[in-house]
Subunit: 783 residues, 2 copies
Amino acid sequence: MRMRIFHAASLFGIAALLAAGMIPARAATGGNKAYASVDPFIGTAGGGHTFPGATVPFGMVQVSPDTQILDFHKSYGWAAGYRYEDKTILGFSQTHFSGTGHSDLGDVLLMPIAGAVRLDPGDPDKPGSGYRSRFSHSDEIAQPGYYAVTLQDYGIRVELTATQRVGLERYHFPADQPAHVLVDLRSSIYDYPGKVLWSSLRVRPDGTVTGYRITRGWAPGRRLFFAMRFSQPMTGHELHDLEGPLDYKGFAPPAANHPAERAQVLGRALVGVFDFGALKNPVLLVKVSVSPVSEDNAIRNLHAEMPGWDFDATRAAARTAWTQALSVFDVDATPGMQKSFYTALYHTMIAPNLAMDVDGRYRGPDNAVHQAQGFNFYSTFSLWDTYRAEHPLLTLIQPPRRTDDIIRSFIAFQHESPYGMLPVWSFDGLETWCMIGYHAVAVIADAYMKGIRGYSADQALKAMVATATYGPYGGLKYYMKLGYVPIDKEPEAASKTLEYAFDDWTIARMAQAMGRKQIAAEFYQRAGYWRNEFDPKTGFARARLSNGKFRVPFDPAAAGYGSDYTEGDAWQYSWYEPQDIGGLIHELGSDQKLVAKLDAVFDSKVNPKEFANVEDITGLIGYYAHGNEPSHHIAYLYDYAGEPWKTQERLRQIMDSQYAPTPDGLVGNDDCGQMSAWFIFTALGFYPVAPASNEYVIGRPFVKRATLTLPNGRHFTVVAERLSDANPYVGSVTLNGKPLNRVYIRQQEIMAGGVLRFVMQPQPNKRWGTSPAGRPYSMSTYE
Amino acid sequence: MRMRIFHAASLFGIAALLAAGMIPARAATGGNKAYASVDPFIGTAGGGHTFPGATVPFGMVQVSPDTQILDFHKSYGWAAGYRYEDKTILGFSQTHFSGTGHSDLGDVLLMPIAGAVRLDPGDPDKPGSGYRSRFSHSDEIAQPGYYAVTLQDYGIRVELTATQRVGLERYHFPADQPAHVLVDLRSSIYDYPGKVLWSSLRVRPDGTVTGYRITRGWAPGRRLFFAMRFSQPMTGHELHDLEGPLDYKGFAPPAANHPAERAQVLGRALVGVFDFGALKNPVLLVKVSVSPVSEDNAIRNLHAEMPGWDFDATRAAARTAWTQALSVFDVDATPGMQKSFYTALYHTMIAPNLAMDVDGRYRGPDNAVHQAQGFNFYSTFSLWDTYRAEHPLLTLIQPPRRTDDIIRSFIAFQHESPYGMLPVWSFDGLETWCMIGYHAVAVIADAYMKGIRGYSADQALKAMVATATYGPYGGLKYYMKLGYVPIDKEPEAASKTLEYAFDDWTIARMAQAMGRKQIAAEFYQRAGYWRNEFDPKTGFARARLSNGKFRVPFDPAAAGYGSDYTEGDAWQYSWYEPQDIGGLIHELGSDQKLVAKLDAVFDSKVNPKEFANVEDITGLIGYYAHGNEPSHHIAYLYDYAGEPWKTQERLRQIMDSQYAPTPDGLVGNDDCGQMSAWFIFTALGFYPVAPASNEYVIGRPFVKRATLTLPNGRHFTVVAERLSDANPYVGSVTLNGKPLNRVYIRQQEIMAGGVLRFVMQPQPNKRWGTSPAGRPYSMSTYE
């Protein structure tokens, strides 16, 4: 854990720090292993795109420092607003994505200022040129639900914590300087000219500041409302419209020329400055709530969740929530592994996010306000990523209610969508149409097959079928007619065909379990459509034209946006038939052919510059790109060909090279928890290659022991005897003391509780797990 | 009445016209005098800025043809979307202002098209260059609640009618041409680049088309939602974004490149085309509802008010509503006068407008959604104009509930306003800050003094005082401190001081009546602040600097935006002390001095070009500008100086020169009914010079007889014996048979019912109405 004691003794005595709760909680209260092992800085450098700020699990507000706001063309590295390498902080905004490869948010940026106020952030290379401030990592603390930093230019200590819908900031101002808080409504992650379509900033008679903005970003026309209150009375304020009013015959609200007298300002470039004078009590708190619905609802959220001003109690509550969430695992591992493990676990519980006000209202994909009836509405669904391992993990580490709420949110979304579709990549209830597939169906089917059924299965299946048959989406009308997506009609056709076929298989699985034979038959048929794109001659999945011919020329290493594949190439995508690896082996000709192909994936000499044109292809081992999701299941496929020791080798290669307990320890975008969920499963020794199969394919464990407290109260323990760097291979496996010779375990075996015991050894055990009878599920099998 | 029979016999037989209800209703059913006398074309040429389209009284939807959409710099003449001089129609939009001098609206423009579709309106000088169509007045019918025209370029007959919240259009398409309806969400009255901040257009699975737009117009950030349905099934549609998507990394909704497959389009330049093929039944209806709240609420409004497709019944219901509203007066006058009178009456009941959905929700000045509890929320308050005569008239011709609702809307507005102020010039619940003063207080006080009290008087008075003491508004903080608005701190200071003082007097009146002595005393004092701007040396109200000196140089004929006066000069504004004409006479020195000043106003030789820089100063008689409101009471002021025959003379001069029963018959903006309300009162023989005084100052009648059915069921009749052009002077007046020697009548005398009988004569009667004891109310009197 990044446990830095705050050294600014020149500003504050230790006693004051203790009184202010600024000594890290562990030192004060002891804490527990799980909580103390989390380092929120992991992923804030490198490719992780995580943020270090404060949130509660799945919280709506995620308040965090932003270090750079750039035009979106240059913003990839700043998708979470903060980069560890930066030297200045712009301020603290209320909303962030965790680990995304595209971005938005950074709403309602607050900056405490001591002394003179500048309205622009200034140049990071010219300290003092604007309101931004220098900072040092040595003054920084990040813990789940808590963040602190010292703004060196102002001598202000800042602490952040949060409830579900409210961010709470505590500022320790220096003496004898006028204290201000600046609010910049222009500031937005992934900025561009004209992104803020309209905004409002208003000071109410009781001192509450409210506002909203409508942005044209990733989600077009998004509305974000907020409310904030300060713990001490304002002595003055200024409301600026830095763009100035548009000349529409010059009618203006009262005091339009006097920012200090304005009660409200409307426009597209709004900055507010709230003044508090030279404070007698130098500690000023500000609480900020957000709402997708209205300013009034933001005020409701504020009052309901944070009626008072107890920063320490709020911080303690956030800590308790995280301690509870993280302690589902009791892990015994090396210190670095333990830190990586619990930080990964932390990162799997930041998204999806609550996207609903305390009164149950939320904004749906029609951009209208709806009322949730008996469930919590969630959003921030990075589904192309998270259906793989993040959502399957949540079914094990969270109460079923969480997944039920997610699925009920999906169903509501489909009902409200102008397209009648389940979410693809949505946040704040709005659709971004980012990435491909309709993987919400896999999330639903996975949960249903696992017995998580706190929703109407009929409604769910109806929504799934409606989504999978919506012709205008991503070439689906051709896919349904031709059995594949033709590349002359639709870009990234090869990837789309493969992913649709997998999603279709999950629909078939659920329909079959529900006794809906006709739907099951239809979608089992579609689940085989991957073959229509597979070229046995080259041994790759390839894009086909609508005349049936494969597109030429064909280069299996060619990647690019809008190419035949999605953020990938044939080397990465050809093995995406998780529902039918037996069929893939058949197409290739033999187990050995698959193994040879997989070896070629990992062992090819590849110049990373080949992929410089695709931001997300990172973390290369040969063609294997762990930094992006299409590769995530590949290492496990050796199991299907009877060579599990090769899976074990590749996993070690990946774990050693792609993760580290350092700020740059995530080689690719965490993608709302998917990179981290992969890590958790892999560290435990198994992975859900085909969600909805109810099977986890066995790799090898990376922790000595891990006990999972299941939602049903039982315990499932993984033990890795003799685990060490010298013993990287699985020698034997027992489940509850009985030898396990198959290379997968079943969902119900985990849920029953028990012990999965590995005995590790220095050399591959080429007899364990090699039997065709012990292979994981496949639609078709060829022996 | 403009009673044109539709002559397009080449397109439709008379039988079909009858069946379609297209023969004007009078011909078919008889109708009554009031309804049949209205000509909605009056004011559509000249300066009136009225629209000829269809609405019910005070309706939320006011559907009307638009002939030109121009940049707002050139749009003054097209403030209502339509000009009688134009040769082409762009389409039919759902919302309009009646008679304003600044503008907005023109939302959701529909255009039926037969044959090929063009997406742009094209050049009016090049017929056929776009979707606009030529038309002829000979094909046009306009009646209260009904409008019809033939689009010559398409051979389509169009008819419009409406309910409160729904516009209904009936299109008669020619045979054998594909029928389309184009919806242009770009089109907006008072346009400018970037006015549409964001918009949406969506086709729902059941064929309902919904959408919204957010505009940056007169009311900044206004939201307008709509829903429409067609009477026949669509065969196809196209949803265009003619601006194209902004490049934010290129994620796009399904079928983004296929306008025909889109379920929704979002953007800033949206056009939808809805196709119906070659219709077997050539009559296609479309109904369009609007909502300030949401698309769902627009759908609710649509279903609640118009579940079916009966155009004729809807038209008949609109006719019934108007017949009822108009028949409060039974007027006997010359045909021209009768037409002018009933058309004026019609124009007094177009605004204010209902601005609330069927579920009682509306949008307030905080741009948030609120729920009306037990009242109807109204907006479109052109208060600087309408407090003078429009609102006082409504208290006589409409049930008290109408005014109660208006006042409850005011109170709700003040409560929701970020400024805590009553409306100044608001529409759709939003504030525009147009014009000066806080005349909502005069509307409330006038109603209260008349006994209309269906609201909390305490809340009302609180809102009035809060408004009148809001320092940042229009120099009020200086006014409260110095006793006048200083011109070096605030433009148009002379006008503001005068109008605030009048408004303050109305607050004092109401506070006194409520027994709130302290408030009454404070505001009676403020009511005398007009003296602080009055310069006895020059005999004009003049702007004073904050050092107490009058600003020099002083030119009583100088006018200009942001000058010392508001849309006026010293010649027009100096007599604006309606609460204290006695005080004015004292300042001037004598009755004769006032008479001389008034004569100079009317008799000065003035070149209208002097006022070319102020659009609203029109209708000049000397300096008297009947086309703008500051002059409206001036002709009645002779009464206060004992020379009522001069009032009678001036009124004749005004009535003869400023009104005519023709399209160009309104010399100035009707201003949401104020010009028309002036006409109604003046035609009856009295006028509310000082609303809240409960007095009407007597002029002379212009109708032979008029019986007003009062809201309490009683009848008040004005009789003008011997009325003719040769007898323009009042010889004698009796009220209920008793001689009336004062020059005013009281509100309670009207409400009691009775007969006010004038006997007209050729020469002035210089003895009637000359006694100081018979003069109207004045705060101070000096004999």
